[in-house]
Amino acid sequence: MHGVKRTRQSREAEEARKLKEQAKLKDYLLLTEDLLSRKKKKDWSKEAFDLATKLLHSNPEFYTIWNYRRNILINGIFPSSSVEEINSILSSDLSLTTSALKAHPKVYWIWNHRRWCLENVPPGPSSPTGEQTQGWRQKNWEREMYVVERMLDADARNFHAWNYRRYILSLFPTPPPPTQELKYTTHKIESNFSNFSAWHQRSKILPLIWEKEGKEREEEMRELEFDLVRNALYTDPNDQSAWLYHRWLIGPHPDPILLTREITSIQELLSEQPDSKWCMESLVHYTLLLISLTPETEREEMKSECRRLLAELAGVDPCRKNRYQEISERLGV
């Protein structure tokens, strides 16, 4: 029969695998014991270094060993190495951790180790006139940008990668212009706008650009941002990241005309998508904001609209029922 042989085989394979696992576990525990005792004895040898590397291969989250390994470098290996050798060791460590990141993209200790490597790259190489250039560092930073971009291609929502990206950008003595970074976030948002980090990055970069470009240009660009985020809201009203960005754009002290316009836009969206919780929630928030900018006498209609929305929200989002009721009560005062 066709099926029979194969199951028999894989049962055997299962047993073999289990035996292998037991052997691996035993080796791991022995290695751990060995390294921890070496650490206690302050063993800074190359042998210990290599053993640590081996252990971190199987368990990159063992931060104690990362620390120990760095101490070996600082106390044992670096003092007896030339600047070139140090740079080369750190470069190869960076390569090593690149592979580690591919398998474990969210382990804090790997990202941490990369930062440490970058910070410890010595100034160099020396130019013909004997000056220290930033050559090695520059080369590493550029490579880091490349690595981070690949990581973000694989997972655009990995906040470790975004944080690291900001860190690298801050290291460059001549950093790339914010407009370039803005284009990068545009690219990421266009491919999938359900990405808190990309919008967040935008909210960090735009103020830098606006500062340089001046008030008029800021107004123009804000309009473009509203256009962008409105497209996201209409395409997927369920995506919270776009709503958060919208709220940031509005800011704490918006112009009442702008606010009214946005409220109208959201009301249109709500009429297309009557069950959208975020629409209702945002309308309440913005209307309350508008109320605070409106003279007392014209507030009543907006207040009753808020109350109506809050009642509906309590139905659509019963987990937060009490919150909506509380807001509604405070309105009545």
Partner: protein, 563 residues
């Protein structure tokens, strides 16, 4: 060479070849016959010289008495054939598919490709784009994903919301939903406009470029089912739901299935005319007759207990049996005519999208997307002409132009395959070339680089014809014997002619045929062990559990968790 087989499969079309491969792999002895000197039958991929010969053989048919009932059937199927220009040199660099096809990334066809091992023989590429002809020299992109909808500059905010609502509905579980109730047979485009309040533009794009409908009357439920399938297929290998096979698509894949059959012992005979097919009384102990197939140039006839045949060979069956000819019934399938054009180009095609509004060109915020399409040509794409979009084109049916370029390995620059279903029955046969010329001109207008001084180029070879296509029915009982007394003789049912559906249709037909054959042959296989296979002790019967047997895979040793 043995002369008795479990099954003789006549015709090496896609359905027949998948079936033959599956039956061979299941342990049956299979002889596979085709009168043509190439594999593939009506789904073959031919180089230009062979294509030229193909056309000549079928258009010369009316002049002289035909050498074979098969060719007669072919000449009735392919009419109004006209070739413009003789084939250019280096004909073997081209591979023209007689059945243009897209392979959905999920579905019965790709499942069979993988399970049979045929996928390992060939290469595939992702379809780049589907676009809709807008007006002279301009096309519109068709949004098929959330990303497309978000980025689109052609849709208003409200249109985006409504389109997303529809896409979510179609991707979800709509069977029995209140939106669909009562509308299953209504025209799909009307359903979109009324139930989802979609604008005419958007509804047109969905109907003809997402669902691949061919007319405004096409019903809702099948179209929705297709869209559901394609939405679910998107993302498996990339942004598009569809793969395109290298070296000519379906025709190349057919050869893969024939090879699979041969590897496990199947015999394939090409380029021999069939002289006769007769029945002889069953051997002792068997309830079914033996079929005797005489081939030209063979001393001994081939015999088998079962025949699976492409429809164009069935005249042999009614002529060849000792039964009364008056029993031959017409196939229970409806048919339609489709105009087809094969256009070989030596300048690539560009898809210049409508110019984006000014916000996109803002120096700081502007996206860079649209300009890219203005300078790079498309390689593998579908261009859709909805009804009435082309002034001299059809006002009732849609044309689909399938462009395959150098990246698909089917031509040095490209081949365009145009299909336009024809409406109604005219008394005089329509002129394929005249009908398709407006579409050819519109397509060739896109060989000019946008905003440049280029001149529109001409095709280096064209072939036009009308194909009378049988359409699949919805009934379960499609696989029926052509004659009531031939229980062990099956004709392959028609494949859906839709560009995006034909491959899956062939795979599903093949699977039905496979099980019918297995049941008919049950209990008395002539089991020839495949390579390396042992017949377990005490068992001389083969239990067939699945369409394809498990593939030999290299067992991956998990090993160390190395980075």
């Amino acid at each position: 060479m043995a002369s008795h087989y479990d099954v003789i499969v006549i015709g090496t079309g896609l359905t027949e070849s998948i079936t033959a491969a599956a039956l061979s792999k299941a342990g049956f002895t299979v002889a596979h016959i085709d009168e043509n000197l190439y594999y593939g039958g009506d789904e073959a991929s031919l180089d230009l010289d062979d294509l030229d010969q193909w056309a000549k053989k079928r258009s010369a048919a009316s002049d002289k008495p035909l050498s074979s009932p098969y060719l007669q059937a072919q000449a009735e199927k392919f009419v109004s054939i006209s070739a413009v220009a003789s084939p250019p040199p280096h004909s073997r660099q081209y591979s023209v598919s007689l059945l243009p096809s897209l392979i959905p990334s999920t579905g019965p066809f790709i499942a069979s490709l993988i399970a049979s091992g045929v996928s390992r023989y060939g290469g595939y590429k992702l379809l780049e784009r589907v676009a809709i002809y807008h007006s002279a020299g301009l096309v519109k992109n068709v949004p098929g994903s959330k990303e497309d909808v978000f980025k689109s500059k052609d849709l208003s905010l409200v249109e985006k919301r409504r389109l997303m609502r529809f896409l979510l509905f179609a991707a979800g579980d709509f069977a029995g939903s209140k939106e669909l109730q009562g509308h299953e047979d209504a025209p799909f485009i009307d359903f979109l406009r009324t139930t989802f309040s979609l604008s005419m533009d958007v509804a047109t794009a969905i109907t003809y470029a997402l669902a691949f409908c061919s007319a405004a009357s096409d019903p809702t439920l099948p179209a929705l089912t297709r869209i559901h399938h394609y939405l679910r297929s998107s993302g498996r290998y990339g942004n598009s739901p569809f793969l395109v096979g290298h070296y000519g698509g379906a025709g190349e894949i057919v050869q893969g299935f024939c090879r699979v059959s041969a590897v496990v012992g199947g015999v394939c005979i090409l380029a021999r005319n069939i002289l006769s097919i007769k029945q002889s009384p069953p051997p002792e102990g068997h309830p079914q007759p033996t079929y005797v197939v005489e081939l030209e140039g063979f001393d001994e006839p081939l015999t088998s207990r079962l025949i699976i045949s492409a429809p164009d060979y069935t005249p042999f069956l009614s002529n060849g049996t000792s039964q009364d000819n008056t029993h031959s019934s017409p196939p229970p399938f409806s048919s339609r005519r489709v105009a087809r054009g094969v256009i070989v180009i030596d300048h690539p095609i560009y898809f210049p999208f409508l110019a984006p509004p000014s916000s996109d060109s803002d120096p700081i915020v502007g996206a860079s997307v649209s300009t890219e399409s203005m300078i790079t040509p498309v390689d593998t794409a579908v261009l859709v002409f909805p009804p009435s979009f082309l002034p001299d084109g059809s006002s009732t049916t849609a044309a689909h132009a399938f462009i395959t370029g150098a990246g698909s390995m089917s031509a040095p620059v490209g081949i365009v395959n145009i299909s336009l279903p024809l409406d109604g029955a005219g008394s005089s046969p329509p002129d394929a070339k005249a009908i398709l010329t407006p579409y050819v001109n519109a397509t060739m207008a896109l060989t000019k680089r946008p905003s440049s001084g280029d001149v529109v180029s001409d095709p280096i070879f064209t072939l036009f014809y009308i194909q009378n296509q049988l359409l699949p029915s919805n009934s379960e009982n499609e696989v029926t014997p052509p004659l009531p007394d031939l229980e062990t003789c099956f004709t392959t049912p028609p494949i859906s002619p839709t560009l995006s559906e034909c491959a899956d249709s062939a795979a599903m037909n093949a699977e039905k045929l496979f099980w019918k054959a297995v049941n008919a042959l049950k209990g008395h296989p002539t089991h020839t062990p495949g390579q390396g296979e042992e017949i377990p002790e005490g068992q001389d019967l083969v239990e067939i559990e699945s369409f394809w047997p498990p593939l030999e895979t290299i067992v991956d040793d998990e090993g160390d968790e190395s980075w």
